[in-house]
């Protein structure tokens, strides 16, 4: 064990004794960050449960106005991006620079596709007056239930919006990783940034895995 503070290198920072200790610390740090994210989204999941429990029918009707095929396709896009991400991490574990760059770029593109589709969906909502606010109108619901439908769309926009914000941050992180990977920063010995960014990306994927059924798939058989 090194008794003195040693010189800082890109691979090993001065506060750590060994690279293993450093890698463990970074991984643990990212997992702790992810549980803060669980609690962050947890607040909205609670709101969803409470309001869906109070307004089951309005939620089913409002949910049926979402395009389930676009939602499912976007889920597939995001799962593909997780797959490419895990292959990028694998490339980093093996120290294959080309592989890392290739799969990170693919992940970035898929993330961009997801966000593009999301933007298209949001734009549709604006045209259909399904955005909460004074101009909100949901056809086929009596005036006294319009507010309840707004409640569903408030949750829809808050949840998908904050999820999209996490995606945007993820895209930023990916861009940074690609730039660094091209320079050859990462090797089999030092790939922690790729590894922990992968954890973040998969976590954002998991959030969507729950958002998709909760927002798009409520009692479809009633709505159609």
């Amino acid at each position: 064990m090194a008794s003195e503070a040693h010189a800082e290198t890109p691979a090993l920072r001065e506060q750590f004794d060994t690279e293993e200790q450093q890698k463990d610390a970074s991984t643990l740090g990212m997992w702790i960050f992810l549980i803060t994210e669980i609690m962050f989204f947890g607040g909205m999941f609670l709101a969803y449960i409470v309001y869906r429990g109070a307004n089951p029918l309005v939620f089913a009707v409002a949910s049926s106005s979402l395009n389930v095929y676009i939602g499912a396709a976007n889920t597939v896009v995001l799962l593909c991006s997780s797959f490419t991400m895990v292959l990028a991490v694998r490339g980093a574990q093996l120290g294959q620079r080309q592989t890392i760059v290739l799969f990170l770029i693919l992940t970035l593109i898929l993330g961009g596709v997801f966000l593009g589709v999301k933007a298209y969906e949001w734009n549709e909502k604006f045209q259909e007056h399904h955005v909460p606010g004074p101009a909100f109108h949901f056809e086929g619901l009596p005036p006294e239930l319009q507010g309840r439908a707004q409640l569903f769309f408030s949750l829809y926009f808050a949840m998908t919006g904050l999820h999209a914000l996490h995606m945007v941050i993820g895209v930023g992180i990916l861009s940074l990783l690609i730039w660094q990977a091209r320079k050859g920063t990462y090797s089999a010995a030092y790939m922690t940034p790729v590894d922990v960014s992968g954890l973040y990306w998969h976590f954002v994927d998991i959030i969507w895995i729950f958002l998709f059924p909760l927002l798009y798939l409520i009692d479809r058989h009633l709505g159609k």
Partner: protein, 540 residues
């Protein structure tokens, strides 16, 4: 000359000079001092608001400020004190400085994230400060909807965003501490050799990490409702304001333990070192910290007894609230048992520790009163509640914070504070505190509601007493401020271990070298083993 002797050796303060060497530092000790300066500013800012509140309450009429201004005063007092002083107070200053040293590490696991979290606190503080200067905010520090979303026309957004950003600071500090305690302990520093301050700071970090994100999302939803017209808490669209209260208190009740748990850790250190005995029932005190952190998350509904929360939920939350008393009482009893047959010295930090134990006990026991469903209906939103939480936060946290600051001041600066003045100010603070807040228990029991600046004349005597106490308390807080600054230049030079304490932080020079230890320590004995250090505490 004294100064010459100190400057010969290189330490963290003279390792580099200039503003840049501070603003870009990754040294946890320097970051601790940056926090110290920041929270001291917010403490006196919050204190200024408190002064205006107490002056206004001297007379039953609303003659100094308007009702609107008064609403802003108590809101800004709460925001400044809770989010920018109490929550960062002990963990971010004393914790930042001493947690790595106490476990024998060179630094925290993520020094750059540590610096980032200071910048986030400053940024959040500036946002909230901007809101205060631009016109203030009047929702109360709790931001209850729908007033905060639909009706208040004050600076809700800027203040709430400031708190949101400061919340990230708190999360990152907690994350950093958890990883550091898990991964950075010196060889031989097992979990049950950790000083109890580390245990309680660790438990605090767990709360910060699990609770703060819920506050963050609550603020985001509030923001979306005010700015983008989403309707999640809007009753006109079927939303439920009580849901806001659930989410808010899911964080804000555990936040009380973010404030008081590290304080308990400080007290464990002080009680042990000034009675020359290991803490009685070390394992119980350590686990009590964890128990408080866990139980603290199960009781938030007792803030909602008079809302439309279901009676059954009220029963559950009331019942669970009593459980928090168990680990809290374990701590108080174990500190007392530590004193038993100890070789007690009445140094200034010990005076603060005595103050803490007494005042925390009163605050905790009145907490049991208000956790009882029936009694709470009687005293909800009265000065009884105000007095209760000030006994915990001011009588508990600030007492321990000042005690810890005195205890570790020689290590942080290499200088002793003047003992006589310090004892005097400890006494003044204790007397001033009780004179300020004890009458508020009586006021509240008699029915004086909180957040009103006009009141029936029969309450005036007690209000005058409280204001008089606040003046004494203010003097008590200014004295340490002056002599601490004075001691930086004129204080007696402190040795490496002026208290003959056992912690690793005392095994290195004062002030410590930039990397804390000249040689990485190896731990071979339990915490608080006074057979390893000779001699008694010298009181000047």
């Amino acid at each position: 000359m004294i100064t010459a002797a100190v400057q010969e050796r290189e330490h963290y303060l003279n390792a580099s000079y200039g503003i840049k060497s501070w603003l870009l530092t990754k040294d946890h000790k320097r970051i601790g001092l940056l926090y110290l300066a920041t929270i001291t500013f917010f403490f006196f800012l919050g204190g200024a608001f408190a002064t205006l509140i107490r002056v206004e309450l001297l007379t039953p009429q609303g003659d100094l400020v308007s009702s609107e201004t008064y609403n802003k005063l108590f809101t800004m007092h709460g925001v400044a004190m809770v989010f920018f002083f109490l929550i960062p107070a002990i963990p971010a200053t004393l914790g930042n400085f001493f947690l790595p040293m106490m476990i024998g590490a060179r630094d925290l696991a993520f020094p750059r994230i540590n610096l980032l979290s200071w910048y986030l606190l400053v940024l959040g503080g500036l946002l909230s400060l901007y809101a205060m200067l631009a016109g203030g905010v009047d929702t109360g520090w709790t931001f209850y909807t729908p007033y905060s979303t639909s009706y208040s026309n004050t600076w809700v957004i800027a203040t709430a965003l400031g708190i949101f950003v400061a919340g990230f600071s708190s999360i990152l500090t907690g994350l950093n501490f958890i990883v550091t305690v898990h991964r950075m302990r010196a060889p031989g520093m097992t979990w049950f050799r950790l000083p109890l301050f580390v245990w309680s700071t660790y438990a605090t970090s767990v709360i910060q990490v699990l609770g703060t994100p819920v506050l963050a999302v609550t603020i985001i939803l509030l923001f979306c409702e005010r700015v983008f017209h989403l309707g999640i808490f809007d009753p006109t669209r079927g939303g439920d304001p009580v849901l806001f209260q659930h989410l808010f208190w899911f964080y804000s009740h555990p936040a009380v333990y973010i404030m008081v748990l590290p304080a308990m850790g400080v007290i464990s250190e002080l009680v042990s070192v000034y009675s020359r005995k290991p803490v009685f029932g070390y394992h119980f005190v350590a686990f009590a910290s964890v128990a408080i952190a866990v139980l603290g998350f199960l009781v938030w509904g007792h803030h909602l007894f008079v809302s439309t929360q279901s009676l059954y939920a009220g029963l559950v939350f009331s019942f669970l609230s009593y459980f928090v008393a168990i680990p809290s009482a374990i701590k108080v009893f174990n500190w007392t048992a530590t004193l038993y047959k100890g070789s007690i010295s009445y140094a200034t930090p010990m005076l603060y520790a005595f103050g803490f134990i007494g005042l925390f006990t009163i605050g905790g026991l009145t907490g049991l009163f208000v956790a009882a469903l029936g009694f709470d209906v009687h005293v909800t939103d009265t000065y009884f509640v105000v007095a209760h939480f000030h006994y915990i936060m001011v009588g508990g946290t600030i007492m321990a914070y000042l005690g810890g600051l005195h205890y570790w001041w020689p290590k942080m600066t290499g200088r002793m504070y003047p003992e006589g003045w310090a004892k005097l100010s400890a006494l003044v603070i204790f007397l001033g505190f009780n004179l300020t807040f004890f009458p508020q228990f009586v006021l509240g029991y008699l029915g004086m509601p909180r957040r009103y600046h006009v009141y029936p004349p029969e309450f005036q005597v007690l209000h005058v007493l409280s204001t008089a106490g606040a003046s004494v308390l203010a003097v008590g807080y200014v004295i340490p401020m002056i002599y601490f600054i004075w001691s930086l230049r004129y204080g007696k030079v402190a040795g490496a271990n002026p208290w003959n304490a056992t912690g690793l932080e005392w095994q290195t020079a004062s002030p410590p070298p930039a990397h804390n230890f000249d040689q990485s320590p190896v731990v071979t004995h339990e915490a608080y083993d006074y057979s390893t250090v000779l001699g008694e505490v010298e009181v000047g």
